[in-house]
Symmetry: C2
Subunit: 91 residues, 2 copies
């Protein structure tokens, strides 16, 4: 594996793993009020397009990173919906 691919994989690893602390924080606090739902919706569509782009340019780091990131941003978005609804119910 060449040096450039290693940088790409490392970059992809970080921009994917980066969402994990946010996901854990949501699971721990069940609070998502300060998070922008619009952000997670736009990011998910964008990450999906990066995945398509990665397939076209045949870049393994771009494909792998964005496939994993998509799972995380969609999960965070769904938890945001879940906890926003629960908050509305308890009010």
């Amino acid at each position: 594996m060449d040096f450039v691919t290693v940088i790409g994989l490392f970059a992809g690893g970080l921009t994917t793993v980066g969402y994990v602390p946010q996901l854990l924080k949501i699971i721990r606090t069940k609070s998502t009020g300060d998070l922008s739902m619009t952000m997670f919706m736009i990011l998910s569509v964008g990450v999906f397009l990066w995945l398509i782009y990665g397939l076209y340019i045949n870049s393994f780091p771009v494909i792998a990173a964005n496939a994993a990131t998509l799972c995380l941003t969609v999960t965070i978005g769904m938890l945001k919906i879940k906890y926003s609804k629960q908050r509305t119910k308890t009010k």
Copy 2:
């Protein structure tokens, strides 16, 4: 400009623009308690590495998108620090 570059630019546009609603929400509410600082720190380092990767593979969408995203994630991170400190002071 070929079709693949257009997809890449569109993807990069979305994963960059995606952070704008979060930034506006922070400016409006001055509340960042639910945001994970670790997320924005890891994402910023990751996006910086994507920028380096983009320069190596000479991909204009990867370079442009990540340069702009880096500005946004760093700004959100700094606002998170700012408003966390203010909250601590007023407590």
